[in-house]
Symmetry: C2
DNA sequence: ACCTGAACACCGTTCAAGT
DNA sequence: ACCTGAACACCGTTCAAGT
């Protein structure tokens, strides 16, 4: 077949290349995230996945930060908001929602990091805020105080998720960082080998207890601490 | 002068190239940080500053993360720990220390971010932990609870610094993110132009009040919330 | 032992040129 | 209007080869 003008062939021969849309880009990014992790959700890699050039994505997405924010909000749809309208003590239900939020983020701690830097703004996030506000209101927290509290609570959950994500690595007894961690745990360097075992506990049972404790500290503190007069 | 073997010339003609040392690298990194910001403290840029190749730095520094951790700890020497042993109410002195820590980090929010991801371990950080523990002990917080509390307090300060650093930018009424921020503040889109003014307040007076409130929430919550029985 | 150039395998973003 | 190749200006890290 000679070169030159060829008849516009039907799309069927390249079924993996649908027209670009903002939603399609976000979906591709999400599947790339699940397949290869956030660090590979780059403009170039994503474009490759979509069978185009990186430059094309800039028609739909302002920059990488916006792309990540879009993914995050999509993921936030997985947060379990059922406890908001369930039966039971409001404190416990609030902790359940915060746990769910943290759990969703912890699998993709890079996204949590971006949530810390660029406050989320999509529908997923707004639903979450709404739910937390409802629970605080049920708990009798005045609106002004609740507005600050919801920020404080979500901020704490977000930063915990950021922190946790990276901690999932082996402890190395020669590593200076790990030595300091051991010191903080009150372990003398002699008993060092034991941290390996301890660390697993820290990430599971004790880690969980600490986070729950943190949530309760925040909730009790909010109940106990009025906003300053002036504002 | 013909090429070939030249006599080893004295170092005096290149006074800016001292031998590489770990400390020298950290100092150069620190001055680069102050001059150009964290985003330019890269292995390549730093090597250039030290008149060598990036590969040479790997003799002294494991990787970029370690480099940043080293810088951070150096900076932590600037935290004002005087309130630890000053007169006055322990709560207020604790808040003062936390404020100082936050202030040091907020100027370099990228470093705060790295502190969130890689828990600091150097002497600067350990002194800070020591000071906070001393104040909590003075406040009658039991050691076990204090151990968790110091983490909670510093973690909150660190993540607040991470968050604040980026917020120092103009509000754009066309920006979706800013629209959501306005919504959260309870402003209808009609009153939108006013956020520009409001934003300044938020970053100064109200922002400061919120952070102080957050610290007090944490402190009151810690006093109010025992650690779970099991651990 | 320490240092290095060069290479490998990537990045984000812009822009002129095409359709 | 949408899409793109190519370019610009970078990255971190490794490694063989030098001194």
């Amino acid at each position: 077949m000679p070169p030159g003008k060829r008849p516009p062939i039907s799309r069927r021969d390249r079924p993996t290349k649908p027209a670009l849309t903002r939603q399609g880009i976000v979906e591709a990014a999400l599947s790339l995230l699940r397949a290869e992790g956030l660090e590979r959700v780059t403009m170039r890699r994503l474009a490759q996945e979509l069978d185009t050039g990186a430059a094309s994505l800039y028609v739909y997405v302002r920059n990488t930060a916006e792309l990540h924010a879009l993914i995050l909000d999509e993921l936030l749809g997985d947060v379990d908001l059922a406890p908001v309208s369930a039966a039971g003590e409001w404190r416990e239900r609030l902790v359940a929602v915060l746990w769910s939020y943290t759990a969703v983020l912890v699998d993709h701690s890079g996204l949590a990091q971006s949530a810390l830097v660029t406050r989320p703004s999509g529908p997923g996030y707004l639903h979450l805020v709404e739910g937390v506000l409802a629970l605080l209101s049920e708990g009798g927290v005045a609106p002004g105080r609740a507005a600050w509290a919801v920020d404080l609570l979500l901020h704490f959950a977000t930063s915990t998720a950021t922190e946790q994500g990276i901690r999932s690595r082996a402890i190395d007894a020669d590593d200076e960082e790990d030595r300091a961690a051991a010191a903080l745990l009150g372990l003398s360097p002699e008993t060092f080998p034991h941290i390996v075992a301890l660390n697993a506990v820290l990430l599971s049972v004790e880690g969980a207890e600490r986070l729950t404790w943190g949530f309760h500290v925040l909730i009790n503190g909010v109940l106990e601490t009025p906003r300053p007069e002036s504002s």
